[in-house]
Amino acid sequence: MDQKELRQLESRCIEENPPWCAAACPLHVDARSLNARLAAGDWAGGWRVLLRSMPLPGVLGRICDAPCRRRCKRAEVGGAIAIGDLERACVSHAPPPRQAVPLPAREETIAVLGAGLAGLTAAWDLARKGYRVTIHEPGPALAAELRQRHADRVPPEIVEEELAFLAALGVRAELNSPVAEAGFLERCLAQSDAAFLSLDVLGASGWPLLRDADGRSAVASPAQATQLENVFAGGLAGPHGASPVWQAAEGRWAATSMDRFLQGVSATAGRDKDGPCETGLFTSLEGVTPEPPVTAARSAGYDDEEATREASRCLQCHCLECVKVCPYLERFGAYPKKYAREIYNNQSIVMGERKANRLINSCSLCGLCEQVCPQGFAMQELCLAARREMVERGKMPPSAHEFALLDMQFSLGPDFHLARHQPGSQASARVFFPGCQLAASAPGQLRLLYDHLCASLPGGVGLMLSCCGAPASWAGQEEKQDRVLAAWREDWQRLGAPPVIMACPSCREVFKRRLPEVEQVFLWDALQEIPGVAGLQGLGPLVVHDPCATRHDPAARESVRKLLRDKGLELGELALGRETTECCGYGGLMYNANPALADEVVRRRGRQSPADYLTYCAVCRDRLAQSGKRALHALDLFFPAEGGEDPAARPGPGWSQRRENRARLKAGLLRDLWKEEAPDMEAHRQIKLIIPPEVGEVLERRRILSEDLQKVVYHAEQSGQKLAHPVTGHFLAGFRPYKAVFWVEYSAGPQGYQVHNAYSHRMEVKPGGRP
């Protein structure tokens, strides 16, 4: 990803677009933040929000005509927020201490003719930019017109306060100036570098203004230019008539134009956001209760309590559509635009800590964000690309995915891999490819299922046991997946390249993308002629949990529903179902890189409905079950589940069991169907371990397989390299079967080796060293 790609990507996340109120405001006052502060009763905080963008806030805050209300999102649900009244309520409180801190002084001098809102704002902004500003006021006091026009709302002492602030910025005032006199402007220009005409006081006639298409005098915003290149003007009525905030804004835009003129830079570049503009923000109104505006009891306006209530009606417009539905996006505390920047920075680091590694590796790549985003921002593409890049550069943390990749390797290895015609057949009209995790979860059912397919489908049903390589792809190791799929394809072609019956939605998704030449039959389409399991008719309400791999696969989703509904089952739906379904925490190897988050994800998913869940992905089912949620695999309705009458209560097998299940399935198939003995077990597998349940839980949490322990004990017993404890009699041994060192504390007994504890680390002890 380069800077340009980053910018493009960032621009697709609209969260940082301004809310409608700020976009509509000629001065872009952040009314959303103002409301947040006022809703909390924080008047000083509200003041600070106004001070960020509002000139003469004591005055303008009292007379603002709030054109933002026309575009307020609240208008659609109860009525626009009364921002003008809230501004008044805010500035009726004493302001926090303000400091006049202009930028470093500049040499250029500026004449402002007329102290209207436009002229005062221009002076306010230019003085803060460091210019030497003199206001030429026709009346006997500054802001005479303003005081008179808004006498009912702006007390004289407030005007004085703001003028005192202007004076503190170094603005000088010339009162009783004959501004209308012929030659006055020319005299000012002889002494100044630029001048501003505050037309709200001076009127439009008699000045060297430009003309519009109809030949009338006009000042175009935001350039505020006149016929003279060093004279600028503003303060006339806005597009919606007389508007104090528009007049002030014209003074501000003129100040920008004058500053640019005096610095000799482009007057127009980058000014498309000056003044009211569109916003790309999206804010959902779903579930928002309509609430009418608060009416003030007094004619003077809101009291504090009323203002707080009115400000609380503000919707605080944000998008965050993706963050609302994704615990992962929520966990890292920001939103995709920020994440894109963090990931970019992570890639650019030469030395130092890569702080976004965890962010990159925790995404389940499920694509829900893209589905709910108004702009289709795909966090999964960003994370996957970053993972590939990390792998390429050798910067992927070894611990992030290793466990999952070893599990994949197991499925590809001799303990599970198989590709054969149906016993007694020389050809396969179809081949059944159940994927790796259904066999890991429910080998008994899988066996019954294969028997059923063989018995019910003509022409021979071959069997392929292997893996689609999804874990490698999720880990950013595309080439590894290429190799897995190439090997799979070879097996398949050897079997005559028949249509493939697929049971796993993830495999299905991978094959659609990567092996489009494979004709797929979804298991649930192949199973139409099958009786259900007796005794399951009394099931309680079931809701469907769609695996995230079916997000773009409506055929798969509906196929399962149809089959089950045809069997008379009533199925409910989750609010986040079908194309907006959620991941169980397994996808993208989230469970491997961030187990705590993956557990939170699946627990949250389980809480979405009190009903039992029905799914058609073995991993989804097992993860839901492990989180304490009652969950069924659709197969449970057709074949008795292993271990018990109540399939929804079946706990998901642990990591070691998942491997053992695969190996046993294959050995059983070889023995029963092909009449072959399984090859001799490797020596370490003959080590008999006794693992008490509490130790089993520790192993599960630490992702330590019983086979890892067998290797350690085997090595220790063969080599004698172990430690003994004189009091407990336990042995302690460590061994490094691959990139991790495993330690087992055990004792030997007649039944086998009792495991007391086990742990692992990745750091390696170098031989040698000083005694």
Binding site: L723, A724, L732, N757, Y759, P771
Partner: protein, 70 residues
């Protein structure tokens, strides 16, 4: 990785090969090309080093994480 890696109980273990009690020793450990010296219990005879559960899941895990994010 230098201090407090050894608890008194760690030195109770005896090497089965040599029959000797473990003793504190400076040992080199390595991860992702980074080497450190740490004081760990070691058999004075054959040099077998013990990594306790506390060290493996504590200090070592912490350093592993830091190095993985380097």
């Amino acid at each position: 990785m230098k201090q407090e890696n050894i608890r008194p109980g760690d030195l109770a273990w005896k090497c089965c090969k040599c029959g000797l009690k473990l003793e504190p020793a400076l040992v080199t450990v390595e991860y992702l090309g980074n080497e450190f010296t740490a004081e760990l219990p070691r058999c004075p005879g054959c040099g077998q080093v013990m990594i306790s559960e506390e060290v493996a899941l504590g200090k070592m895990a912490e350093v592993e994480q830091i190095l993985e994010d380097k």
